[in-house]
Every structure is written in structure tokens, then in C-alpha cells.
């Protein structure tokens, strides 16, 4: 990427109070202020959000997809890690 290109930013939107910011997409902008402005214009024009985070994509460290076998498969066989082996007594609400 040459210096003339604007960096890429990842955009996270909180859709309402109490929910997490969720990744919604990316965009280009010369700096953080304009990245927020662009995110507002591109991703919240249909009232999708009440808060925005932008993070320069360079700062995101991602897991390597070629290592996904060793990263994620081992947990597939460990069903006991889900709390499904307990009997819930009758009469317990909100479970």
C-alpha cells in the first residue's frame, strides 16, 4: 500500500444499550476522526446504532486460518464442557 492510500478501519456498532459492539464491516479513512464520521454515514443511516468504535485494521491480530485444525477442532470432542449434564429440578424458572 502506498502512502497515498488511506488506511483501512474495522467498524464496530453497538445497536442498543446493554448489547456488545459488533463488527459490521470496514472502510477507508485518513484518520480516526474521519473514520468515525464515515462509519456514521455508511453504517448507521438506518438507525442501526447508538455507539461506534473504529480500529485500524493493522492493529487487528487474527488467528491463522491454516492452523484452524489445531486451534479449533480439539474442542469439538469435548462435549462435557457444555453445561448440559446437569438435571434441572422441576420448578426452576428462568433457565
Amino acid at each position: 500500500m502506498s502512502n497515498r492510500d488511506w488506511p483501512l478501519w474495522e467498524v464496530f456498532i453497538r445497536s442498543k444499550q446493554g448489547l456488545n459492539h459488533k463488527h459490521v464491516g470496514s472502510l477507508r479513512a485518513p484518520d480516526a476522526t474521519l473514520a468515525l464520521a464515515n462509519a456514521r454515514d455508511v453504517y448507521t443511516r438506518r438507525s442501526e446504532g447508538i455507539s461506534i468504535w473504529v480500529i485500524e485494521s493493522n492493529n487487528v491480530h487474527a488467528s491463522d486460518p491454516t492452523e484452524s485444525d489445531s486451534m479449533f477442532e480439539p474442542s469439538d470432542t469435548k462435549v462435557y464442557r457444555h453445561p448440559t449434564f446437569y438435571d434441572v429440578p422441576d420448578g426452576i424458572k428462568h433457565m
Binding site: 472502510l27 477507508r28 479513512a29 474521519l34 464520521a37 454515514d41 455508511v42 443511516r45
Partner: protein
């Protein structure tokens, strides 16, 4: 009502009609101009930003022109006023009808206008006319954002690369001559000011100057000196670009009268 009271009321309505029509026409014509960028923005993000602002302005124009039609009392709605007047019946300032030019020119035109509209709407929220106050309150939120957006851009373009600085300065040199007209006042306006319906333009100009000076200074741009100030739009005398804009704006209603979609 006594005849004199009736007369005063009629005069007030006529004065207010003219005032609201000017506000509505400024929003309508600038919204139409910005809309021309749709699909042509320098980057996708800014293309959307400009059309968002355009839609905000056209929304404001709808409320303002509806109210103007109500004051006029001849059963005209916003469509009738937007699409079915002749060139010399539009009262927008010359600034807003100027060509888009390059991106710097469009941002400069928008910045000079937003810096005027924000203090105006702020004052109008306290208008003794409840409808104006309500429209101003809703529009102010949008306008604050527009001004923030354009200020950021003017600073970055002016204090950016050599080329962006030169283009922003050229835009300022070209558009500065249309700024005085924004603050013109008619005899009728003075009446509205005395009734507490609208603010005096001298207050608005003070605030406008403060905003403009501070942003331009940060942007390292210089206000042109010895610049003749143009006016005419407020009296229905427009620049040569205006007819072309109207033919785009009015085409459908003229070709297919009363069409809806």
C-alpha cells in the same frame, strides 16, 4: 378582529411566508446540488456522506415549504412550491446554486453555508412562532453534524497536500463573494425581528465569522481581499447555472403533471 388587526396579521403572514420560503429554497437548491454527487463521490464513504446531507436538506425543505404554503393560504404543498415555480420566483441565495466544481469547492460551499445555518437555527429554536421553532429544533441536530463534517474536511484539505491546499484556496476565492448575501435583510424581516419571530442577521453574522475565521485559520487558508460581493438570489435574480438546475429538478413534474411515485 378589527380591520387594523387583520391587516397586521396579513402583513405578518406575508413577511413570514417570504422568510420561510427563503429558508426552504436554500435547503432545496443546495440539496439538489449535493445530490448531483450521487454515484460520483471521490470515495464511496464520502459519496454516501454527501447524499446523506443532501437528503437532510431536502427533508428540511419539505417542512419549510409546507409551512410556507400554509402561510400563503393558496393550498400549495411542498411539491407545488418545489417543482412548479419559475426561475425568478425562487429566493435561494446565490451561494447554494453555484456549481459543485471539485470536491474542495463543494465542501467549501457547504461549509460557508453550514456555518451560517447553524447559528440561524439555534436562534430560530427560540422563535415566538412555534412551527418555525419546531422545524429549527429538528434541523439543528442535522446541521450541527453537517458543519462538523465540512469543518473537518476544510481543515484537512487546506492543511493537507500542496494540491489540496491550492484547490481549497481557489474554492474560497471563488465562493467568498457570495457570502454577504446570506445576511441580507428586507423591510419585512425587520418587522419579524421586532415580533421576536426571527433573529437579527447581525447576530448570526458575528457567529458565522467566528466559526469561519477559526476553521480557515486552522486550515491555513486566507480570506480573499478586495472581493466584490454578489447578490440577487434573494430577489429572484439568479446566476446562469440556475436554469439548468431547475430543468433537472422540475423535469418530471413538467413532463408528467401531477405524477406521483
Amino acid at each position: 378582529m378589527f380591520p387594523t388587526e387583520l391587516n397586521t396579521c396579513k402583513m405578518k403572514n406575508e413577511a413570514l411566508y417570504n422568510y420561510v420560503l427563503r429558508l426552504g429554497d436554500d435547503s432545496l437548491i443546495l440539496g439538489q446540488r449535493l445530490g448531483e454527487w450521487c454515484g460520483h463521490g471521490p470515495i464511496l464513504e464520502e459519496d454516501i456522506a454527501m447524499t446523506n446531507i443532501s437528503l437532510d436538506l431536502i427533508g428540511q425543505a419539505m417542512s419549510l415549504l409546507d409551512y410556507a404554503g400554509e402561510l400563503d393560504g393558496q393550498g400549495k404543498d411542498h411539491d407545488a412550491l418545489a417543482f412548479l415555480r419559475f426561475e425568478n420566483e425562487y429566493r435561494n441565495a446565490l451561494l447554494v446554486e453555484q456549481l459543485n466544481g471539485d470536491f474542495a469547492n463543494t465542501m467549501m460551499r457547504q461549509f460557508l453555508f453550514d456555518a451560517f445555518r447553524k447559528p440561524l437555527y439555534e436562534k430560530l429554536t427560540a422563535s415566538s412562532d412555534v412551527q418555525i421553532a419546531a422545524i429549527a429544533e429538528k434541523s439543528l441536530k442535522e446541521t450541527r453534524y453537517h458543519l462538523k463534517h465540512t469543518s473537518e474536511w476544510i481543515i484537512r484539505l487546506g492543511d493537507g497536500t500542496d494540491e489540496s491546499h491550492q484547490r481549497a484556496q481557489k474554492a474560497l476565492d471563488l465562493l467568498w463573494r457570495y457570502t454577504d448575501e446570506l445576511f441580507s435583510e428586507t423591510e419585512q424581516d425587520l418587522k419579524l425581528i421586532s415580533l421576536g419571530i426571527v433573529p437579527s442577521m447581525s447576530e448570526i453574522k458575528d457567529q458565522w465569522s467566528k466559526t469561519v475565521m477559526s476553521v480557515l485559520e486552522e486550515a491555513t487558508l486566507v480570506i480573499p481581499t478586495n472581493n466584490w460581493q454578489f447578490e440577487g438570489g434573494r430577489r429572484g435574480i439568479h446566476s446562469e447555472h440556475f436554469g439548468y438546475l431547475l430543468s433537472d429538478l422540475q423535469y418530471m413534474q413538467r413532463a408528467y403533471p401531477n405524477m406521483k411515485w
